[in-house]
């Protein structure tokens, strides 16, 4: 009994999935549809969670999520493992595409009016929350709390609101030059707080 539990525990910790996302992406690059399905299962809730945070509308967010995964399928060969993890590659692409959608569509403009300055804490009562995401969430929230109010607002509007820096300037009634500086200072501070730099 004890032995069995230990075995399960090890299994969970180290090799839950038979293949890492990086390995899956490598197989996807070679046209492996099953690997794509596995990668989708692991990453789609992350991607949709992020996209929906920006786009708000669920149907449109699912559509963009689908686009993102088709792009992953097409350009998996462009992923380079030495540049970073698969999640990083995928989420960077996801954010980029969500922002593209906002900038290109009227829906994005309409959505704009719904977005105030939203705190990270908002909307975080999702049932699919896991220990992993909660820990990450708390870590980021804590790091965000170390920023100045202006840095935090500017970064939130840009990243979670999908606003361009000039739109952020308009929204916060501050000069564009100041926004640039706040975004940079704030991101550097976050980087240090999160220990992204070695």
């Amino acid at each position: 009994m004890l032995g069995l539990m230990t075995a399960d525990f090890d299994f969970d910790l180290e090799s839950t999935a038979p293949a890492s996302k990086e390995e899956l992406l490598g197989r996807v690059a070679r046209g492996d549809e099953a690997a794509f399905g596995d990668l989708y299962d692991q990453m789609a809730p992350r991607v949709l969670g992020l996209v929906k945070r920006l786009l708000v509308d669920h149907a449109q967010s699912e559509e963009v999520t689908q686009e993102i995964f088709l792009e992953i399928w097409q350009s998996a060969s462009r992923y380079e493992a030495q540049r970073g993890g698969a999640s990083t590659w995928i989420l960077t692409m996801a954010h980029r595409r969500a922002v593209d959608r906002i900038r290109s569509s009227q829906a994005g403009r309409d959505r704009d009016t719904k977005i105030g300055i939203r705190d990270l804490a908002v909307e975080y009562d999702n049932v699919s929350e896991t220990v992993e995401t909660r820990i990450e969430h708390e870590r980021v929230e804590k790091a965000m709390s170390r920023l100045t109010e202006l840095q935090r607002q500017a970064i939130s509007l840009a990243y979670y609101g999908g606003l361009s820096h000039s739109e952020v300037a308009e929204r916060l009634h501050i000069p564009l030059g100041t926004v640039k500086t706040r975004l940079r200072d704030g991101m550097i501070r976050l980087r240090d707080e999160l220990g992204v730099a070695s």
């Binding site: 549809e33 399905g37 998996a76 995401t133 980021v140 820096h165 220990g195």
Partner: protein, 294 residues
Amino acid sequence: MTGSGNNRVDNGGENPGELSGAYALHALNPDEAARYEAHLASSEQARIEAAELSDTAVALGLATAPVQPSAAVKASLMARLASTPQLPLLQAPAAAPAASAAGPASVPPDAVETPAEASAGSVTPTVSPSRGTASERARQRWFRGPVGMLAAAAAAAALFVGGAFAGQAFNSDQFQQQQAAGLAQINSAPDSKRASTTTADGHKATLVWSVERKLSALLVDDLPALPSDKDYQLWYIGGKGPVSAGTFDSSGTGTVWRVLDGSMTFGDLIGVTVEPKGGSRQPTTDPIIAIQSS
């Protein structure tokens, strides 16, 4: 790395390094982003900062609550895979060593390791922007200098090469990503349609399009490679005469595809001619392919 490709850009005294935060947050317009990328090409320090801030932005993304998509999204995606061509591997090294375990220095600049092999040695768990190796990865991220990137681009020659982008490796990679994004948009559009024909030489050509998105792409199997002084050129052939929709070339094997420049209108006839390198203002030869979008 230093010294090669001095892409200094005059921007009226403004320090382009200031844009790093906005760049990582995707808050720049395309012109500003291009300017910042030119700056990246000339400064290693800036490249490291850009990579680190990009990782930081991902941490913000990982802090959002996951949302489960409906089952229909996956079903629809899986059904589209077979008809969605993939960018070719940049390079397929025969049994590459587990380079990531051995350390970045052992990776030749243009040896793009395949993810499966690379991750065999060190499996990175999901949520860890804090693993402390970001700076190293940041260096790696931009390790390939212009020469390596050109080599990689050449290796990917099966691909459409846009006339305006050929020879600019930095942009070429972006161009490929734009193309991939364009094709993904077409294929995932609710009104996505396709029509096929066969060239005189027996190659299958398929046009996919979305009227709603005004986008179309042409896919051709095993289109012969052209001499280096020629390009394939795409045309919208409508009532006002042919309008160029961009150029591409082909390696001769596999599926070559190109998202058309400009806007497609329902019913447009799409043609392909062989033209002098870089394309012509008007077609100078008869079309080898013509497909109606209807």
